[in-house]
């Protein structure tokens, strides 16, 4: 098993380099650069623009810049952000906690609720509750999460029950620990709800379909026929098989933990990675974009590996060699 993990991780290195190179080339191929936003400012002279170009290294050949970044990245230096004029790693690190708190909350929420409701829905196939849950799920799958976010923001503005964006109040630092926790929770409610509802709805449908497929298998019929209690048939045998495709799906979810909430973070002014990456893309803040692309790729690799390991643990047919 350990040998397998080590091999997977070694193979991942060239993969990650190729991905970072592709992200770099895509950014280069897109028209314009970071300095474009200053070019229509009448107070900005040619000399100043040239000096900035030199300072940011934008006068060098793209390949030179890429390899400089790569050699730095190998040593843990991911370059400077043009926009913030600070090390990329510092900027990302500052925002990781905010993003993790939001994504993990919604990840846990959507998986627990999604699997529970999906199972319930499958077991009560074609009942009124199942139909209601189906309508509920399709509505949230159809509504994009950013739109849901805007609706919730509107609700907050109308009722005054929740803050308009942000992660903490401006007097957060003067609060007691308990007040701080409540303040954070109060700010997190709406963005977490918006994120949870969308992914929960699709997970619920996956779970329902997967469980229904399994429930039609011969071995389930056989188990029932031999008089095994229904609870054991479902939770010990059927569920275990139904969960397999979901585990692969979990692998993908892990890759989205840091950047997946891009729109929601922007709508709710949540100070996370999503907002950082979004701004960086718009501003063409090159090294920030490549580094966040790299992090997403790393998480994808890790997510897939975790999914494979979990699969091997759950499914005795899978052997990791």
């Amino acid at each position: 098993m350990l040998k397998y993990i080590a091999r997977r991780l070694v193979i991942a290195i060239p993969e990650l380099i190729v991905i970072s190179f592709l992200v770099f080339m895509i950014m280069e191929a897109a028209p314009g650069d970071f300095l474009d936003q200053y070019k229509l400012d009448p107070s900005m002279s040619k000399e100043t623009l040239e000096a900035m170009k030199k300072e940011l290294g934008l006068d060098q050949h793209p390949l030179v810049r890429y390899f400089k970044w790569l050699s730095g990245a190998i040593r843990g230096n991911f370059g400077y952000s043009f926009y913030y004029r600070r090390p990329v790693s510092k900027l990302i690190w500052e925002r990781v906690a905010a993003t993790l708190s939001l994504s993990l909350t919604s990840l846990a929420g959507s998986w627990i609720l999604g699997i529970a409701l999906g199972t319930f829905s499958a077991l009560k196939k074609y009942s009124l509750v199942d139909k209601l849950l189906t309508v509920f799920a399709f509505s949230f799958i159809a509504v994009p999460s950013f739109f849901l976010g805007l609706l919730l923001l509107y609700l907050a503005a109308r009722t005054g029950w929740f803050p308009i964006g942000g992660m903490i109040s401006i007097d957060h630092n003067t609060m007691t620990a308990w007040q701080k926790f409540k303040d954070l929770l109060w700010h997190m409610t709406l963005p977490a709800t918006a994120l949870t509802l969308g992914s929960m709805a699709s997970l619920m449908r996956y779970m329902r379909g997967s469980l229904l497929d399994v429930l039609n298998e011969d071995y389930v019929t056989f188990a029932r026929a031999k008089g095994m209690p229904e609870r054991i048939v479902i939770f010990k045998h059927a569920m275990r098989n139904a969960i397999n495709p979901m585990i692969t799906f979990l692998g993908f979810s892990i890759s989205g933990i840091l950047g997946g909430s891009l729109f929601i973070e922007n709508i709710f002014a949540w100070p996370g990675m999503g907002r950082l990456i979004y701004q960086a893309l718009i501003q063409k803040d090159l090294y920030l974009v490549i580094t966040s692309g790299l992090i997403s790729a790393v998480l994808l690799v890790i997510g897939n590996l975790v999914a494979d390991i979990l699969l091997a643990l759950v499914d005795p047919r899978v052997r990791l060699t």
């Binding site: 474009d36 009448p42 107070s43 900005m44 040619k46 000399e47 913030y84 907050a156 401006i170 709508i267």
Partner: protein
């Protein structure tokens, strides 16, 4: 009335300049805020779309940074300052004289107020100012865009000299009209802190945003930023050593703290204002009617403060690769026809909710150099537009399409930056009106970076609707109007085109462009404000007559704030916070 007063001051300057020595202001001229009365306590929360990138003014390029820097370096932290109508007032300098020497040099002498301290308690003296001018802004090793502004017409930087601890003079090699304003308006650096950075070459790396939480910022302004939570807020507290005092001799500012709340979205800012989370709000035209309607119920003051400075215009590529298109765009009658076909009323009503004014020339209405009489206006009239086209050698085929003298159908691509709803709306209106003249316009909104690249680095564009930031001082548009200006995009000089894409054999510069070039080169050397006024009047006449840029409309400055906040006469120049040190809560 205020504008007349300002012109009177300028004219008196003219008379006194003739005597070669002019007292710009003296100890009897009060500083801004000296007549204020208010109450201590409280704080205000203001929205900003993005967090600051740096606290170092030398590297700061955007308002998200400079607005925060102003709290500890501006609002009374400079030798002179401007009010909400860009009128000059004494500040740290209590007296200012300008002298022309026999050798043709200009000497500006400032007498500084005594007893002023930096926010860390260190005394402020002439050394700080001399260090700021000579070692920071005029230091070739520390390039900054400020250098472009304070250079004379030959590109020479001034030199500062200390006379005694509270008197300094700044020497220019030739008369430079803008010296008092620009040199006096420089943000001052604390020598006891920054001198070391100049010596070890790390100046540009200092005062990053981390300096806020490290409590490293030191300034002469009313508030010192002390807490920054990335993408959340920046908190600034009162400077215990701020020098300004109110009418009763109480130390300003009145407010205990100032908070910038970072809200990345205009909708969120509006909702936050409605929810009471922020105290002032720069309203967009789209939301203005709604905000105005709720003003009484919510206890807000909602108003307009004159036209804003920015300009929006349509411009054509005079150096297009296709000689046919080039000939249309260079045809003055063609451009006049477009000007007559521009329905500015429709733009104001539909795009700005009625909250705008038509714009006819390159100088802002708010500028003391604005001269309405010098401007040629083109009221919406399609018959006039048709007449202009006929004068320009165009005619119409049997299907009603406009054709040029060679029989080519007139059609072009119009672009603007995608996502800017007002500009996109303008393009649609222009397209529809030109269709009535038989011109086929294809509207293609483009990504901002792509648009800027096309406009500045290629000849591959035809017509663009875009805007530029404006100023009360027309000289600020030098990069746009000088013949070799880096933003002379409609007709780049082959030597100055950023992408070197203009072939010298197709380049043509009409006489009036050369005259404008001379105006921008010469006016800064003239201290006689009346002559400068005449020069800029001629500039406005030339631009409105020949239409290199065809101006559209300008939005009014719109504002809203909580009624119990004492905000005084907001304008596009001063915004709502020009009186920041003496803003207070009425209850």
């Amino acid at each position: 009335m205020k504008r007349f007063l300002f012109i009177a001051v300028l004219l008196s300057a003219v008379v006194l300049f003739a005597a070669e020595k002019y007292v710009w202001f003296d100890e009897n001229t009060p500083y801004l805020g000296s007549d204020a009365t208010g109450k201590y306590g409280g704080g205000i929360v203001v929205a900003t779309l993005s967090g600051p990138r740096t606290m170092n003014y030398i590297v700061a390029k955007e308002t998200s940074s400079t607005d925060v820097i102003a709290l500890f370096m501006g609002y009374g932290g400079t030798l002179v300052e401007l009010d909400n109508y860009a009128r000059l007032h004494p500040c740290i300098a209590k007296r200012c004289e300008v002298e022309l020497t026999d050798e043709g040099k200009m000497i500006v002498t400032f007498w500084l107020r005594e007893g002023i301290r930096w926010s860390d308690g260190h005394p402020f003296t002439a050394d700080d100012f001399v260090f700021t001018v000579n070692d920071v802004y005029c230091n070739p090793d520390i390039p900054s865009s400020t250098q472009d502004v304070i250079k004379d017409s030959q590109g020479r930087l001034p030199r500062a000299e200390k006379i005694d601890d509270y008197t300094v003079r700044v020497i220019y090699e030739e008369p430079f009209r803008l010296a008092v304003r620009y040199i006096g308006g420089l943000y001052i650096w604390p020598k006891h802190i920054a001198e070391q950075w100049v010596k070890d070459g790390t100046f540009r790396e200092k005062w990053t945003v981390e300096a806020i939480n490290n409590k490293e910022l030191v300034g002469l302004g009313p508030f010192i930023p002390v807490e920054y939570v990335p993408d959340q807020y920046i908190r600034a507290v009162r400077n215990p050593y701020y020098w300004k005092k109110d009418a009763k001799g109480n130390q300003l500012p009145y407010l205990d703290e100032f908070v910038f709340k970072i809200l990345p979205d205009l909708n969120a800012i509006k909702l936050a204002f409605e929810n009471g989370e922020i105290d002032i709000y720069g309203v967009t035209a789209q939301f203005y009617p709604e905000i105005k309607a709720k003003a009484k119920e919510k206890n807000w003051v909602v108003g307009t403060g004159g036209p804003t400075y920015g300009t929006t215009f349509i411009t054509f590529n005079w150096n297009h690769n296709d000689p046919v298109k080039r000939s249309w765009f260079r045809n003055e009658y063609f451009r006049k026809a477009v000007a007559y076909a521009m329905d500015k009323e429709a733009m104001i009503d539909t795009l700005l909710a009625g909250l705008g004014v038509a714009q006819w020339g390159p100088v802002s209405v708010l500028s003391p150099f604005y001269n309405e009489d010098a401007l040629r206006k083109y009221p919406y009239d399609l018959d006039y537009a048709r007449m202009m086209l006929q004068l320009g050698g165009f005619s119409w085929d049997k299907d009603g399409n406009l054709i040029d003298a060679q029989g080519n159908k007139v059609e072009f691509i119009l672009s603007t930056n995608a996502g800017n709803i007002v500009r996109e709306g303008m393009c649609n209106i222009i397209r529809d009106e030109l269709a009535k003249l038989g011109i086929k316009v294809t509207f293609v909104p483009l990504d901002f970076n792509l648009l800027v690249n096309k406009m500045l680095n290629t000849t591959d564009w035809e017509a663009i609707v875009i805007g530029l930031t404006g100023s009360d001082e027309p000289q600020g548009g030098r990069n746009v109007w000088a013949q070799k200006g880096t933003l002379h995009f409609w007709n780049f000089h082959p030597d100055a085109a950023p992408g070197k894409q203009i072939k010298p054999e197709i380049y043509e510069a009409p006489d009036w462009e050369l005259e404008i070039d001379r105006i921008f080169a010469e006016n800064v050397k003239i201290l006689d404000q009346k002559k400068v006024y005449e020069l800029f009047s001629r500039f406005q006449e030339l631009v409105s007559e020949h239409l290199p840029l065809i101006y559209t409309v300008q939005q009014l400055y719109l504002y809203a704030h909580k009624a119990d906040l004492n905000i005084i006469e907001p304008t596009a120049f001063g915004g709502m916070l020009w009186t920041l040190p003496w803003i207070y809560w009425k209850k």
